[in-house]
């Protein structure tokens, strides 16, 4: 659809200014601008304003935005494997509880009691014998010993310590390198700052001297004019005499 153009249609003028819209209507507006002083002046003014806008340049700092690489999700604490010390503590606790239960149910150090009048089958089920307890103790000791050997591995610990030391050394080296680089950059920056300030000062001095010369020239001219006026006055008064 071809739009029509009426004098003073600001929307159409803006479209013309930014070279948008249909070519036919642009041609119509171009023709109108050769005849209409008001629209032509409007477009010229807006063009000059656009030209001024190009001077507005934002300071562009060094942008180093980086998205962090996502770390793997941490396992919930109740699902994470227990550390070795906790496993050992749990084993000791179980052993202690078992032993207490044994002591409560029957004194292991007490001399063997006379057979009770109760049926033999019931006695063998309710109270564990001394040999049962000693077997249980033996089994727990064996399991604890196994856990200790698997959980605490001093060789691996030592190697992980070495790795850690290497990492720390690498980090320290990186930090030193970064500091050196920053120091160099800062020095260069300071030198440039100094140079820029010097150039600005020179420009300011030149400008100030120019202004001063202008002011001094005006004053001299005024003084000369005053002297001329006084001379004229003297001459006129002498002629009158």
């Amino acid at each position: 659809m071809i739009e029509t153009f009426e004098c003073g249609d600001t929307g159409a003028l803006v479209a013309y200014l930014y070279e948008e819209g249909e070519p036919e209507i642009r041609e119509v507006i171009a023709g109108h601008l050769t005849r209409c002083a008001a629209c032509s002046s409007e477009i010229d003014g807006l063009r000059l304003t656009r030209q001024s806008l190009q001077a507005w340049v934002p300071p562009m700092p060094e942008l180093t935005l980086q998205m962090p690489v996502p770390t793997p999700a941490r396992m919930p604490w109740w699902r994470a494997p227990l550390p070795a010390w906790a496993q050992a503590a749990a084993a000791v606790l179980i052993f202690g509880v078992g032993l207490s239960v044994g002591l409560v149910r029957g004194d292991v150090n007490a001399p063997p009691q006379e057979p009770s009048p109760q049926p033999v089958a019931t006695t063998t089920i309710d109270t564990p014998s001394r040999s049962d307890l000693s077997r249980l103790e033996q089994r727990l000791r064996t399991e604890m010993a196994q856990m200790r050997t698997t959980a605490a591995t001093p060789v691996r610990q030592a190697s992980s310590d070495d790795d850690m030391m290497k990492k720390v050394e690498a980090l320290v080296a990186q930090s030193e390198e970064r500091q050196r680089r920053e120091f160099t950059l800062r020095s260069v920056e300071m030198a440039r700052e100094f140079e820029a300030q010097r150039r600005i000062d020179m420009a300011t001095v030149r400008e100030t001297v120019g202004q001063f010369q202008g002011v001094a020239g005006t004053e001299i001219r005024q003084q000369r004019e005053a002297i001329d006026r006084i001379n004229n006055f003297i001459r006129v008064s002498q002629q009158a005499r």
């Binding site: 600001t10 000059l48 340049v57 935005l65 920056e189 440039r192 600005i200």
Partner: protein
């Protein structure tokens, strides 16, 4: 080989952080420039820029590619700028103006540009920045998107959620107001424009 935004977005959606970082490198400067021009302060612009990419990264699974990635990013940045402006209006904080940094001045000097021309350019830049602050947020944003990011009227209308005719009106009124502000400063501005 340079990958397109769409390819990098597709890879990022599968969890490839490097691809997303390539998008960051590609778009951080335009987004920073947009935020700086809308907010007017370097530090705030940097924060908004960073926040824009973080939000985009989090929202990436929901981005189905209906719009261009850059338009989507600009929209996030503009929303953050708008939030920031509202927060400032609620609790205004007096801020020191950003001074002219000599080092930055020197770094900006183009090979053939004299220091006088550079100072003139900076002066005009400050005048324009001040004049832009006098516009409404909608007018300012429309002008920024058009002048510095080359968006079409339709793209700006989509971004601002308004009819196309409103975008034209905002641009016209904004430019006219800027013109009046600059004319008020008289011949000085015209000379600065010539120098730049």
């Amino acid at each position: 080989m340079t990958r397109t935004d769409e390819e990098l977005v597709a890879r990022s959606r599968t969890g490839d952080v490097d691809s997303f970082n390539q998008l960051v490198v590609r778009w951080e400067r335009p987004i920073y420039a947009l935020a700086y021009r809308v907010l007017g302060r370097e530090e705030d612009a940097r924060d908004v820029c960073q926040d824009t990419f973080l939000r985009a990264y989090r929202a990436l699974p929901g981005f189905k590619g209906q719009a261009k990635f850059s338009s989507w990013l600009y929209r996030i940045a503009l929303n953050l700028c708008r939030d920031w402006i509202r927060r400032q209006q609620r609790a205004p904080v007096s801020q020191m103006p950003e001074d002219m940094d000599p080092a930055a001045l020197l770094a900006e000097t183009e090979p053939a540009e004299s220091i006088e021309d550079l100072v003139a350019r900076r002066e005009l830049s400050a005048i324009v920045a001040e004049a832009m602050r006098s516009l409404s947020e909608e007018q300012r944003t429309a002008i920024i998107l058009k002048e510095y990011h080359g968006m079409t009227f339709q793209e700006i209308a989509d971004m601002q959620g308004c009819p196309l005719s409103t975008v034209k009106t905002r641009l016209y009124q904004g430019l006219s107001q800027l013109r009046r502000q600059l004319e008020r400063r008289g011949q000085g501005v015209a000379e600065l424009v010539k120098r730049t």
